[in-house]
Symmetry: C2
Subunit: 431 residues, 2 copies
């Protein structure tokens, strides 16, 4: 190895790991793996570590350092072509890099610049790279509040502790007048849904101003609470220009609203952190823009990284790509993301995991089996609001599906005595 | 075609195009191209266009509509594997979709949700998709201010109109104390650089608080202005949590700073729009997080889309992946991005294009020839601050390179009588 690259390697036992975040990457290179890993450290930290004609070295304090490196195979078919990294055979490697937190501080945009900015993605010699994970030292996460309400806070509002939650995206998602939107939500509440929400495409728009929509829903939500004896939530999508969201939040709360949502990836995680410092109600995220940088198996970021960052930034509920072919996300990846929401993490509260993707009553058993916990929420749209007998029956079909699970009865058998479930199976079961 | 899909097609002459943004995509599908394009429209707008048991149709007003569709080839090798879109042969198509602006309004996060959110990237039947372009109706862009200063405003500060600008990223980028950082910037100013800037990795950090760094640089910048008789700019990176950037901007301005920078992709374009409404000085963007979603040739977004959105959001200068193998960006793509900054666009001022990537004095001729305009800025780091004789010589070498171009003399010839250029060629020319 070139002498100048040796300073970019360290044993984790020789450095104070409280001063480092650990970035774990998969990468491919046609060149020497050790030299390339060193180059990756240089590019993301101190590519020039001294001034010309000065006797100094910024690497010990500011240099990123390889603390683990494994070659996991070779391939003749690169995942992506890079003009600066061509060869006959490409090495595949997993590297853990300890990056000094002093370089970027406890700020989400700056953390992302370090972990997945120009340094990581423009390192010469690397033809493909994927950020797999970020590990944080305790001193770092201590500077974050995390979710203000979290899973526990959401359960407390609903007073539901013993089953998965059911949240419905009101559909048609676009075009409904506030009054009509509220009517649909009302029916779903009557049928037993815990929460209804705006679609990620529905925000403070002229044909349905948030103010009117929230007012209309909250009015009927309270009526449904009285009728059912159950507490309910409405999640208002306040995604907007970032300087509007506190104002929209305040308006929602003033109208009696009890939850808000941000399209996390288009508005930025920093907006969530800002909002969560201020928020009086749980904040949900929607994953909208996540696929362009997470879909490729060997390039970009993992959804796991984004889930971790969303929890850290303060989202109380995290809507994520869920199970099923349509979402193009492996079962393992969805399970990981559910676990990242729920795992113990210092003082950072758990987030409610909300895996989404064309779910309906018939999806619940598989979700429950797969996640092996009741601590998640479904988020069907059509499965409630496209039910042939309307949203009240749609919501009821899902509660019935849970009853069947609790009683350890198959849904087809349970459907024989529950017509909403039977009609859901008839409508959605062939998928 | 299925009847229900016909409503997702229109002739652009039959609809009021002032009410639509046009999203242009490349996509691949193993299925029927027309049906798949219709599905793409449904998923990004009105997947359910009526309530159950109501006689209504939201498609005419709210549905996205295919206005142009071309099959451009087939392949047996899909760009990405999608579980819901497998086949033996994949059709490759280019589609233009007119999406009603009423669905999302003149808000950047919501626009992005519509153009590249769940709808576009989770449409069943599409195994790979890339957003190539967004076209805006005049009524839409009229709601945006765009850059407050723009190219013209930056030239006016510098009083330089007849050549490309030279901006240097102070290196070492990480680790310098404010006083030492300012000394390096000072030397570069003396050597003839127009602007110096913080690296994207350098923000308001403990070892170099923005307040101290800006104060130190501005002091010496004025001294250099006095000595050289030239006006200078310092671009302070104020990337931080989004609720801190206005405060940081105000602090920079109070200290006499005359430009700021945001890492556009990690902080979000909406932050730029907020800042530009407020800003007293030109705002530069850095592309840091752009690669993960633009690198793949057939998936994600193009950098061109992001350049257009950055100009719309109000960035006066746009630092973008530039020429050269290292940046993994084709020459055509860089040229496109330069043109997108400069092209006439209603009342939206031009942004200064700043293509970056390991440039030095020897890069200038090729940049000038390629872009065929003087309206750009270089942004070397090592090419100035890694010059063997120090940053003053590094800056001088670039001004000399421009003199050679103006005099129509090759740089090797010009270097015979200009030692800074000669030493730059010796240090960087072998690359």
């Amino acid at each position: 190895m070139k002498d100048e690259n040796k300073s970019f390697f360290a044993n984790s036992s020789d450095i104070d790991m409280e001063k480092y975040c650990v970035f774990k990457y998969y990468f491919e290179t046609p060149f020497n793996v050790e030299e390339t890993a060193a180059h990756l450290c240089r590019e993301q930290s101190t590519a020039l570590w001294k001034r010309v004609n000065y006797d100094e070295d910024f690497r010990p304090e500011h240099g990123a350092k390889v603390i683990d490196l494994k070659i996991i195979g070779t391939t003749k078919t690169p995942s992506l072509i890079a003009l600066h990294a061509k060869g006959d055979v490409y090495n595949k490697a997993i590297v853990k890099i300890a990056h000094p937190t002093i370089n970027f501080g406890t700020k989400l945009p700056n953390l992302m610049t370090a972990a997945c900015g120009e340094g990581a993605f423009f390192t010469p010699g690397i033809n493909s790279i994927k950020l797999l994970d970020i590990e944080f030292p305790k001193s770092y996460t201590n500077e974050f509040n995390g979710p203000r309400f979290g899973l526990g806070g959401i359960r407390k509002i609903l007073n539901v502790y013993d089953r998965p939650l059911v949240c419905g995206v009101v559909k048609p998602n676009i075009g409904l007048k506030p009054k009509d939107f509220a009517e649909l939500a009302y029916k779903a509440y009557l049928g037993g849904i815990d929460a209804t929400k705006d679609d990620e495409m529905l925000s403070d728009v002229k044909y349905s101003p948030t103010k009117e929509r929230v007012a209309a829903v909250i009015n009927l939500m309270h009526k449904a609470e009285d009728k059912t004896g159950e507490k309910k939530i409405f999640i208002a999508n306040i995604t907007d220009e970032v300087d509007k969201i506190l104002e929209l939040h305040d308006m929602v709360v003033e109208l009696g609203g009890n939850s808000v949502m941000l399209n996390a990836m288009t508005i930025g995680l920093s907006a969530a952190r800002m909002l969560s410092k201020h928020s009086k109600v749980p904040i949900f995220s929607h994953f909208d823009f996540i696929a362009p940088y997470t879909r490729h198996p060997n390039f970009g970021l993992t959804t796991q990284v984004m889930t971790k960052l969303q929890r850290l930034s303060g989202f109380d509920g995290i809507i994520m790509p869920g199970l099923g072919d349509r979402m193009n996300t492996t079962t393992e990846e969805v399970k990981d993301n559910v676990n990242i929401c729920l795992s113990k993490w210092g003082n950072i509260k758990s987030s409610l995991p909300v895996p989404g993707g064309s779910d309906w009553a018939g999806s619940l058993q598989n979700m429950y089996n797969t996640f092996n916990t009741k601590d998640f929420s479904m988020v069907p749209g059509r499965g409630v609001f496209g039910h042939p007998d309307g949203p009240e029956s749609g919501a009821r079909s899902i509660r019935q599906a849970w009853e069947a699970i609790e009683k350890n009865v198959g849904i087809n058998e349970y459907a024989q005595s529950h017509k909403e479930l039977a009609n859901a199976i008839a409508a959605f079961g062939s998928k």
